[in-house]
């Protein structure tokens, strides 16, 4: 819990302390920053965040409901289409759209919200789809028996039970829009992220950066605490017998309207979030020369290794967490506090990076702890781990809530030895860890600001190459970098699809075949 608290509040605290240490300078700049223009930019950013969350949920909720409840033909193809926007960083897709539409229709809050909302939609879909697979229909059916209409039962029971997952889906989308810089810059929108960079770079003052960043932590913390409250209030712990009953249910044959609607919506997500930018980049990839390709593979390998390291560290952390936290009410409290980590997602990424720069400065505690490791890729990996921890901890939280409280006691009785107990516990949580690790891998591949600001000497990453070319509007030359990052992300997308297909597995699967300990 100490590590979680340090990761959740550390960056904000570092920036806060830095701001106070330079109080006179920070105060002067803060009064400037709190001008009308800045406040209106902050409000604009909140508006874009809310719109992005709305776009993600507007696509994810109906698709998750339809695919969970009905046996729609072509389910695999549909889910591939829904997950496809994950293959693009919002700033990369936005770059293609800007070029395709020649700056027409791509500026403004709605355009950016659609871009970010589509990029985050797959994450919201994954969360909701898995939550729905576990949702006990018995409550809704009981409401119907008690006289509620289908709509009333749906809104008052099912949606209420989905409050936590919906909040999680909204969180990832809203946080991405709030902290975004790259997409906003391409959509020509002066959001908080853009203003932050401009005023920080324009003032040449770290105190300004720290002061604004410390301020930006406030909405993040408010949202994270709100999510935490919702999570604790509305997420039920399911008795395993209900889960078993749910798993036994077979999906219904869909009315044609549902099939058509699901295909149309998934098609729209696929075309806008993937196909059009993909076609644009593929058409430009045809001009690539062989020597350029060699360079691409070289950088891609370095990126792959670093992303894998982020994945491995967070998977290990998730594994240790599930072993350390007991399921049940205490587990709910402990796991819920992971929501606080999501506050980091709301930092403008450059501000988050600044916290790490300050924390690893010459003579700092961070620098002393890291030693010569500071000057390698370790710091980038560590910072990305903190940033992306919510992506792996959310599915793990979910399985901790679903784990039968008596399961560990059963293992104590029947599993021979600690290793066996660890193995069976991890086996139960492994699909969730794999899902989180796959998401972390995909997001780490697209991560830009931390890699840019904390990079050691001679460090290369695909996202940096994309950004370098985008800075000079050479989007045509981005093609090989965008495509190689997609190829590297494909196995992770495969893991996500596999996870979606096995989500209805009964929870006691991990405990099968156990013999009483002698």
């Amino acid at each position: 819990m100490f590590a979680v608290a340090a990761a959740a509040f550390g960056p904000g605290a570092i920036l806060g302390v830095f701001t106070l240490r330079h109080a006179s300078e920070s105060g002067r700049w803060l009064s400037l920053a709190l001008s009308d223009a800045f406040v209106s930019q902050l409000l604009l950013t909140l508006q874009v965040s809310a719109l992005s969350a709305a776009v993600s949920l507007a696509g994810a909720i109906p698709l998750a409901l339809a695919l969970e409840r009905y046996a729609i033909r072509g389910r695999l193809a549909l889910e591939v289409m829904i997950l496809s926007p994950l293959l693009f960083a919002p700033y990369t897709a936005a770059g293609a759209w800007v070029n395709i539409l020649q700056f027409r229709f791509v500026d403004g809050a709605v355009a950016m919200a659609v871009q970010v909302g589509l990029a985050s939609l797959p994450i919201a879909y994954l969360i909701l789809r898995i939550a729905l697979a576990r949702l006990p229909l018995a409550y809704e059916e009981a409401a119907r028996v008690c006289g509620h209409s289908a709509a009333s039962a749906f809104f008052r029971v099912r949606l209420k039970l989905l409050t936590g997952p919906i909040a999680a889906g909204a969180l990832f989308s809203a946080a991405r829009a709030f902290g975004d810089y790259g997409c906003a810059a391409r959509n020509g929108l002066n959001t908080f992220g853009v203003s932050f960079k401009q005023i920080w770079a324009g003032s040449h003052s770290d105190a300004v950066g720290a002061a604004l960043a410390a301020m930006s932590a406030i909405p993040g913390l408010v949202f994270a605490v709100l999510c935490l409250v919702l999570w604790r209030r509305f997420v039920p712990q399911q008795p395993p017998d209900l889960l078993r009953a749910q798993a036994a249910l077979s999906r219904l044959a869909p009315p044609w309207g549902i099939t058509l609607g699901a295909w149309a919506l998934a098609g729209l997500v696929f075309v806008l979030g993937f196909l059009v930018p993909e076609a644009w980049y593929v058409s430009h990839a045809l001009d690539i020369r062989a020597p350029a390709l060699l360079k691409v593979f070289d950088v891609a390998l370095e990126t792959f290794v670093n992303c894998l390291a982020v994945c491995a560290v967070l998977s290990l952390f998730a594994a240790v967490s599930v072993l350390a936290i007991r399921p049940g009410e205490a587990g709910l409290r402990a796991s819920g506090s992971f929501w606080l980590l999501s506050a980091n997602l709301f930092f403008p990424p450059m501000a988050f990076a600044l916290a790490w720069v300050v924390a690893s400065g010459d003579g700092s505690v961070g620098a002393r702890l890291l030693g010569s490791w500071r000057d390698g890729p370790l710091l980038v990996i560590a910072a990305q781990c903190v940033k992306f921890a919510p992506f792996i901890l959310l599915p793990v939280m979910d399985t901790l809530l679903r784990e039968p409280p008596s399961a560990r006691d059963t293992l104590q009785l029947y599993a021979p030895g600690v290793a066996s107990r660890v193995w069976h516990t991890l086996r139960f949580h492994m699909p969730a860890i794999a899902l989180g690790a796959a998401l972390v891998f995909v997001e780490s591949m697209k991560e830009l600001e931390l890699a840019s600001t904390l990079q050691p000497f001679d460090f290369e990453a695909v996202s940096l190459k994309i950004h370098t070319l985008a800075r000079f509007q050479a989007e045509q030359r981005i093609a090989p970098w965008a495509l190689i990052s997609q190829v590297m992300a494909l196995p992770a997308i495969g893991v996500l699809l596999w996870r979606l297909r096995r989500d209805a597995a009964p929870p006691d699967r991990a405990f099968r075949g156990l013999q009483p300990a002698t």
Binding site: G188, S195, A201, G202, M350, F459, T468
Partner: protein
């Protein structure tokens, strides 16, 4: 036998020592460069050429944000800093992060492009130029930055955010050169003439003119040749004329790229060699061809497309008259510039 073994071991020890010495000397010949210039520009090629010439190993970080923050936090990290905004070096100098270079390293740089204390120098520059619609604006209708604030251009001006580094650097120069009152009037007048809320980068302002959104904009001069060279952006370049402001008056304000050596440079001699290498005619010519900025060396001609642009204004060899602003004064007026931008509601757009 024993002596043979000893001989062999001594030989091994000697070889190991030699290898160690070689390794140490190789390590000593390493140079660490921190830059906010793009990895896609000429810098990487220049550094590779320097590696070949000097035999040293150059390690580089291309960082486009938080360069000063990183220098301040880790002052011992780099030997050489190369930046696209020399104002940043003035700030670094004030924080005591840089050290003066020897006269030998600076000898090729014309005095007007050197810091008076020799702490940094400008290795290239570009104009903050006005662009105007070829079809809708008469060639002599706009002569100066002040003209952009005239009421006749209401609703005609496109520009990127007033808080962007390029515009802050320009407004700094307004303040340093004209005083705060006149600068406020001109910046306020420009804000009143905006066609849309400031957005996008420099090239998007040219696109705005090509699409008829506005008639005037401000961009860095090197974007014009870059747009000409891009098939997708050539229509934007064809739709605009580039104007170097105040050529009959005090001259055009410029943006300056710069080079400096850090206080803790572990290999000063090598760092100074790199600094001097960056202002050799060959490297400068390559920089003009690829970026395409203006060289600080009078002997290196301007980019051909800039020469062609200059001809329209009667400029010789594409070189324009520069309005010089002392970097020390600029750095002091930065806060005032940001304050004015906020006070006039520059980024709010036409409604303000």
């Amino acid at each position: 036998m024993l002596s043979a073994v000893l001989k062999t071991n001594w030989a091994r020890l000697a070889m190991a020592s030699a290898s160690l010495c070689a390794a140490l000397s190789a390590e000593a010949a390493e140079l660490r460069v921190l830059t906010d210039r793009t990895d896609d520009g000429p810098i990487r090629a220049v550094l590779e050429a320097f590696e070949k010439e000097s035999g040293a190993q150059v390690k580089v970080v291309f960082i486009d944000q938080g360069l000063l923050a990183r220098m301040s936090s880790r002052p011992s990290e780099a030997d050489v800093v190369i930046t696209l905004e020399v104002g940043l070096l003035e700030q670094a100098k004030r924080r005591g992060l840089l050290s003066p270079m020897s006269p030998k390293a600076l000898q090729a740089v014309p005095p007007e492009f050197r810091d008076p204390d020799g702490t940094y120098f400008v290795d290239a520059y570009r104009a903050r130029a006005i662009i105007a619609s070829r079809s809708r604006v008469a060639p002599d209708a706009i002569q100066s930055y002040e003209d952009l604030a005239k009421p006749q251009w209401k609703g005609k001006l496109c520009i990127r955010s007033g808080l962007h580094d390029y515009n802050i650097a320009l407004f700094d120069q307004f303040i340093a050169s004209w005083g705060e009152d006149k600068a406020r009037a001109v910046i306020g007048g420009m804000a009143a003439n905006l066609a849309r809320a400031p957005k996008g980068n420099d090239r998007e302002q040219a696109a705005g003119i090509a699409q008829g959104v506005c008639d005037l904009a401000l961009i860095n001069s090197y974007y014009y040749p870059k747009m000409l060279a891009s098939p997708a952006q050539k229509p934007w370049a064809d739709a605009i004329q580039v104007i170097f402001p105040d050529q009959s008056g005090r001259g055009t304000f410029i943006m300056r790229s710069g080079v400096a050596i850090t206080k803790v440079a572990s290999n000063r001699e090598l760092a100074e060699r790199l600094a001097a290498f960056l202002v050799t005619p060959k490297v400068q010519a390559s920089m003009v061809e690829r970026t395409p900025q203006y060289s600080v060396l009078p002997s290196v001609p301007a980019h051909p497309s800039m020469i062609a642009v200059g001809k329209g204004q009667g400029l010789k060899d594409g070189r324009f008259k520069i309005q010089w602003v002392d970097l020390g004064r600029m750095a002091s007026s930065r806060e005032a510039a940001i304050k004015i931008v906020n006070e006039v509601g520059f980024d709010k757009g036409p409604a303000s």
